[in-house]
């Protein structure tokens, strides 16, 4: 029976979120009140029936490991299949592979052991709540070697500049992947590939000293592979800079976006917390905001996203800001257009105001 195994390849995702990625990889950055970026692609895979997912991680994967734990919160803690976080650990002196090919080469076992005959590969920067079954059916029906999942961009933003654009024949075969900034048909970075094609291309890439599987293995071989596309029509976002991170968080405060991302299809899965409901104390004023459990609010919150366990004391004002886990905002503080990373403590009486385009970012655990 045809089935899918998953791979999240974050080897080529460098520290794209500045202060937020000083000590963690981008895929582990908190997003939308209770998630991490990786949760979206991982949930999509699990919700599409993928029972084994490997993660090719590179550096700063510690907090990613902490977040994912045994994988049980994604139903991936199994005796057979499950979640495999594969940090770089290779010791074969004869190994000549480079770039992400080293991962593919050194983790051949992962692919061989599985009974699945197709692989869905993705990074962590494409945010959506998708089921991949339809794309997989499309892939099978067209007997495609590769099926790229694409989307249509209606309004170009800076985060789209680096996304590849798709040019295809009438029969749906992709003949070119370009950087044509006028083309709204954008590749999401998610694709399905036949396992045997994958393994063959990996061998070729290594033999020719290549270092980027998608660019060298697929993009350069469009002429001799059957590369199809499947267009995803739902809500989506690319997050690849602080600016897009902030804007895409804020976009979710529009009801239609929030509903489209969270209440379509199945729920996005994330690490299970054990926080009590949000406590709104006497005098709290909260509006136009998204709050995660465990928070205790005495002050005023508008147009903001509060992660778990945030404390906003009496008289504090939080406006258009993103406040991550366990931050405490003491009495009388005023924040606007601010991103506080986890565990930040803002002492009483201070004011910090950033701009929409350049939010003021405070690194993890700072005590200001």
């Amino acid at each position: 029976m045809d089935s899918l195994m998953g791979l999240i390849n974050i080897e080529h995702e460098y520290d794209f979120l500045e202060e937020l990625t000083y000590f963690r990889c981008g895929s582990a950055v908190p997003f939308a009140g209770r998630y991490r970026l990786i949760d979206f692609t991982l949930s999509n895979m699990v919700n599409s029936g993928v029972g084994e997912v490997a993660i090719f991680s590179n550096r700063k994967y510690r907090s990613l490991m902490d977040h994912l734990g045994t994988g049980s919160d994604w139903e991936l803690a199994k005796r057979h299949g499950g979640l495999f976080i594969l940090p770089p650990d290779w010791n074969d002196p004869t190994d000549i592979s480079r770039g992400d090919l080293r991962h593919f080469h050194n983790n051949r076992d992962y692919f061989h052991r599985s009974k699945a005959n197709h692989v869905i590969i993705s990074g962590s920067q494409f945010i959506s709540n998708a089921r991949y079954e339809k794309a997989f059916n499309h892939h099978l029906e067209n007997d495609a070697d590769v099926t790229c999942i694409t989307t249509r961009v209606n309004q170009f933003k800076p985060e789209h500049v680096s996304q590849l654009r798709v040019e295809h024949d009438e029969d749906g075969k992709i003949h070119n992947l370009t950087n044509d900034q006028q083309n709204p048909h954008v590749f999401t970075g998610v694709y399905i590939i036949k396992k045997d094609v994958l393994m063959k291309l990996v061998d070729e890439c290594i033999a020719y000293h290549k270092d980027h599987f998608f660019f060298n293995g697929i993009k350069e071989n469009l002429h001799r592979l059957n590369v199809q596309f499947y267009r995803y029509e739902g809500y989506s976002a690319f997050v690849n800079s602080i600016e897009s991170f902030f804007r895409q968080n804020m976009n979710l405060l529009r009801p239609e976006n929030y509903k489209a991302l969270f209440f379509k299809n199945q729920f996005v899965r994330t690490k299970i917390s054990n926080e009590p409901p949000v406590k709104y104390r006497k005098g709290a004023k909260v509006s136009d905001s998204m709050l995660a459990n465990g928070s205790v609010i005495d002050g005023e919150v508008t147009g903001s996203i509060l992660f778990r366990g945030v404390k906003v004391r009496k008289g504090a004002q939080v406006k258009n800001s993103i406040i991550m886990q366990r931050c405490t905002i003491e009495e009388g503080v005023r924040l606007e257009n601010v991103i506080l990373d986890k565990d930040v403590h803002i002492s009483a009486g201070q004011t910090f105001i950033g701009s929409r385009e350049k939010p003021f970012v405070v690194a993890k655990r700072k005590n200001i």
Binding site: A32, Y258, E275, V278, R281, M290, V296
Partner: protein, 380 residues
Amino acid sequence: MSKECVGMLLAGGEGKRLGLLTKNLAKPAVPFGGKYRIIDFTLSNCTNSKIHTVGVLTQYSPMVLNKHIGIGKPWDLDRQHDGVSILSPFTAQKGGSWYKGTADAISQNMQFIDQFDPEYVLVISGDHIYQMNYQRLIDHHKEKQSEATISVIEVPWDEASRFGILNTKENLEIYEFDEKPQNPKSNLASMGIYIFNWKTLRKYLIDDEASDSSSHDFGKDIIPAMLNDGLRLFAYRFQGYWKDVGTIKSYWEANMDLLEEDLSLSLNSKEWRTYSHDSNYPPQFIEPNAEIDNSLVNSGCWISGIVKNSILFEGIDVGENTLVKESILHPSVKVGNNCTINRAIVMEKVTIPDGTVINGEEYDEPVVVNSENIEKFVTE
């Protein structure tokens, strides 16, 4: 594998006085506190007290309860060799019987307890709200070289006659158990929490099973029999919040207590966590015109209206221009626009149409709304 102490959690009661709330639901499974079920408090006490072997005795409408407890993961009780076990009535070669009383439920599961060869057995029930370290109770039991120790709480003298009262000497040794005494001699009420030496209890359970006249109840039969034989029984004084949520009124009050600022029981405590299931609902969404005051609101809620002094479970919608006040809304309740909900308990998945007014009287029992009686409140 020998264990020092095995916990036996009585969760089979029907909880009749909770009316509609327990119509198809065991009392310990009734939702509580915006996120929990009543039994979570006792199970979390076990986890926090490092009692890792817990038998949960179920009988009445156990489906939701079983599903909630599941493999025990939220309480770290999903263990290979011990952890949480659900113990339902069963048949044996001589036939089967339902649990006839609290003591009978334990008797029928002696084999379960014996396999752990414990020194002590802790008997607790799944329908009280409190945070308690059972290890302190065990320490006290050991210190006093007691055969059975009962946890007690001081109640106001004028309410003492509503409780099972323990009369003790100054050193807390119990000499008399007084069930709902007209003229109480003490205000130490039993909390229904017992620690027994298993060897001793085992003997009394066997005798009690053999007796036709017994009601097979700890308070009515086992404890009096032990006292009668002159065994060393002690009381352990618990200080802190404790509430039996046996009626709709006390259920409502105990929920409202969570909104108090200075309650000794805290859901936010890092030292004594209360564990429960957590679903994958997204963060709550508060619309620009919403107002929320002195309330608990869980994930997945979508608030457009006004919420005051209320407890909202997960996945609730509160429509525009709607007021929810002094109410408890169970999971997935959808309240339309232009409604007023005052002093009500709205049960799971009830949809309240636009314009509905539900008004509980101030001193009466709160109104309980389910999907059958909701029609009564809808004015066309």
